[in-house]
């Protein structure tokens, strides 16, 4: 697979030279591949937010490099600026960054900064709005009149409108009701499929990431202890729990079943897989009797 973003020995130290100095990232080698759906998990303060802010050049590494499509994003000022459009970053609670009079203008903020033509801006705004399921009527409303879930979608559309080849979202479903969570996740999935975009989703909900991502990266104490397919990562149940994380509930149940001596495939992490694994184990046992 072709790497789209890479970090080499990336370190970041906050408040260097004050009593509050601390290393948020230490020698991190991180890779995201083109077109993959990647999850980053880590508890609060693990350094995951710091990591993603390096990927689009918002934070400058204290040491180490960040490469986008093989080129150092800090090489020239222009490249750093361009990287911000290529690597779209949606912050936590992005609805708090809305500022324009209308939803349309707010979504157009990014494309306008890219100095695109009016026609192109219009196309992108409408397409982005469609991705997140905002109707044309909403486009002319003030963003401050919308509901929380709608505001969130406007903010995400604001980033999608730049048509980034990598879309990073920091806890995009935090504080939403279950329906809102489903909607946002499926909106993101639509964008992933339609543009073959790389998606990086940051979360601390194991269930949520386990369902959606191809690959998982665990961040703990400014380092990456594990990375790989969800089933590989979830095999480290004890270490994950020690980091204040954990594994999805179904994985935990099956790990426990295996410990009790049931011959069951415990590398699963979704309800459907678990059902299949349990049924298989049940049939095998019945056949053996």
């Amino acid at each position: 697979m072709e790497a789209i973003i890479q970090t080499e020995k990336l370190s970041h130290i906050y408040s260097a030279g004050t009593p509050f100095e601390h290393g948020a990232l230490i020698d991190v080698d991180f890779t995201a591949y083109r077109g993959e759906y990647l999850g980053i998990i880590g508890h609060t303060g693990s350094g995951k937010s710091t990591l993603i802010q390096h990927l689009n050049g918002l934070l400058k590494p204290t040491s180490g490099r960040v490469l986008f499509e093989g080129k150092d994003i800090w090489e020239t000022k222009e490249r750093t600026h361009q990287t911000r459009f290529q690597v779209g970053l949606v912050f936590q609670y992005p609805e708090y960054q809305l500022f324009e009079e209308t939803v349309y203008k707010d979504i157009a903020f990014g494309p306008r900064n890219m100095k695109l033509s009016e026609a192109e801006i219009d196309r992108r705004v409408r397409e982005a709005a469609a991705f997140v399921g905002l109707s044309d009527a909403i486009l002319e409303q003030s963003p401050f009149e919308l509901s929380g879930g709608q505001k969130r979608r406007v903010a995400i559309a604001g980033v999608i409108a730049m048509e980034p080849s990598v879309l990073i979202l920091d806890e995009p479903t935090a504080g939403l009701d279950p329906v809102g969570v489903e909607n946002i996740l499926s909106n993101i999935h639509d964008y992933h499929v339609a543009k073959n975009a790389t998606i990086i989703i940051v979360s601390h909900s194991m269930e949520e990431v386990a369902r959606t991502v191809d690959r998982l990266v665990v961040v703990n104490d400014g380092r990456i202890p594990f990375a790989g397919a969800p089933c590989e990562v979830f095999a480290h149940e004890e270490e994950l729990i020690a980091m204040g994380l954990g594994v999805p509930q179904v994985t935990r149940v099956l790990h426990q079943l295996k410990k009790l001596g049931v011959d069951v495939d415990d590398t699963v992490y979704t309800m459907e897989q678990a059902k299949a694994a349990v049924m298989a184990a049940y049939r095998a046992r019945k056949g053996a009797v």
């Binding site: 918002l58 911000r84 970053l89 949606v90 900064n113 730049m162």
Partner: protein
Amino acid sequence: MALKDITLGQYFPGNSILHRLDPRTKILLTVMYIVALFLAKQLVGYGIMMVVLASAIAVSKVKLKTIFRGLKPILIIIIITAFLNLFWTPGQTIWKWGFLNLTVEGIWSAVFMVLRISMLILCTFLLTYTTSPILLTDGLENLMNPLKKIHVPVHELSMMMSIALRFIPTLIEETDKIMSAQKARGADFDTGGLMDKAKALIPLLVPLFISAFRRADELAIAMECRCYHGGEGRTRLRQLKYRKADAAFLVGGLAVCVAVGVLAHFGL
């Protein structure tokens, strides 16, 4: 991000003797120090003031770098003051170029003015570095208590101040976050002319104001939920208490103040 490094009104936790002094003592000492600074006229007076400040900084165990970083924002003021004093003080001319007139007296007065401003800023910073905002406002409220007799809303003022101080770091953090979010959408806060820069602030200020109002609202509700009804009959969890060390420091401060005043009187 540079914003995070602003140290305005910031408290650095510690356990030095300065940290442990009663906040009222520290406020009074700061006031005395400022008075003495303005009394000092000549080298000996300034020398004493410098020694006092240097030993206070040494005792506080706050890093020198941190202390001097506080001077950065007022560097321009210091430079302009020095410049004006250097060239516009009448006296014995040593160098003249156009309207610039460098005098011996000018050099001295520039040195003294720069010292005075820097020490003034540094000593007030030392106060906020070693005193938590809550203690600071407690101390102020307590010191201003007599003003209640003439219907000054002392409690309300100090409550407003502690809330303001409490929210400075929060607002800075918020500004930082919104700036990052808008930068991620290609906003540019650094380049362009004055008009461009002012326009670039709209995507920052609008969300910031909205969130400040939202926070104020939430805070008001939270305070009401806990039956806050102003200062009448309100008791404190932490009572302020003068100790022996406070008395010693206050006497010492007063002595320095008087000494500098007397020295200045004799032209030293």
